[in-house]
Subunit: 118 residues, 4 copies
């Protein structure tokens, strides 16, 4: 796997796992790869994967069973989508509108672009 050099690898692993779960590639209560396996697959040190898993645990996306490994938390997929949506509507969108105003771009221009690209 190729990583973006401007962002910490372990954070990119967090994103990777998050999207796997949001996409239902990994299902609730399913075991996810061990730190060693994922480390080998991504050609990354297991410690780096561990760091990502710790963060995912804090975010209530995965949980740990002693000696067995990490598992997808039930409802994680739903919660991920929900919190992303919240972030989009409450943070990204206001910023977006503000930028539009600063640059003097009308909502109609946006709608035009939207239909053109689509």
């Amino acid at each position: 796997m190729k990583f973006d050099n401007h962002k910490a690898i372990f954070l990119q692993i967090v994103d990777l796992v998050t999207s796997k779960i949001a996409n239902n590639d990994w299902l609730p209560d399913e075991k996810i790869p061990s730190v060693r396996d994922l480390g080998a697959e991504l050609e990354v040190n297991p410690n780096t994967v561990m760091r990502a898993y710790e963060l995912l645990q804090q975010k209530d996306i995965i949980y740990n069973k002693r000696g067995l490994g990490f598992f997808v938390k039930p409802m994680a997929a739903e919660n991920i989508v929900k919190s992303k949506k919240k972030q989009f509507l409450e943070v990204d969108l206001p910023v977006f509108f503000k930028t539009m105003k600063v640059l003097n771009i009308s909502i109609d221009e946006i709608i035009d672009q939207y239909h053109k690209i689509k």
Copy 2:
């Protein structure tokens, strides 16, 4: 001034100066604060301000007269707006549309929000 600890301070100073100029707070060929003065005002090491000014010079937003200080480049304000607009239309907007799609948010919802906030 309060800085966001997640972003390099000198980049935040670049943003600050850029927006001052874009807003016409600082006019073409007007002298901007010395690195010492701005450093003192922002409670930041002058080296850090210097680094911001160097970047702003590269971006053709300010220029230097040896022994006199830094000055706003003519047309800087216009160029800033132009490049921001380009960034917005060519980069931010596609990303924005992609996020909408991923989160299953329609253009109508966006329009609603726009009028509601306004």
Copy 3:
């Protein structure tokens, strides 16, 4: 059964068995569940139960008859209570008093709480 993920499972099984015996749920010389049965009931690997039983044997709480299983040692209940009491008076209580002092909590506050909760 739900286990606390911060403590080794086999130690939690030790606690479980100990309290069963202290409570006279399991009587002297009575056979306790086999490692397989208890493992199945607790949804835990039998090896893990075995490890708990080994520790309980060392602590003179249960004994083994080869081919028959594990049995509650006579006087185990009494000894458990006795050693718990010793632990409480000689270790827990001094720690408790020290914490009170550090947090500046008086003995009267403790007494108040005691009667309030009761």
Copy 4:
């Protein structure tokens, strides 16, 4: 410094720093030792100190200024004491009373012990 081998070193460093701050050995907005310095002093790898500092940051006990180091958060001392007190009254104390009941120890015995030790 001697560490207790049963508890992770970085957690013991968290405790150490926490108590320094609670004791007002390190005051609000004062710089605390760099990860390298404290690592050298404790004869521990700087990474291990870093891990402790990360946790302390999460707990709102210290904060970071880019390139300058870690600093004691204002009100950290008060908050530490407050949360310890809460833990004691809401968690430790009920457990303590329950143990008393199980072991058939009266509140009067506790009071006696208290005055005897004092």
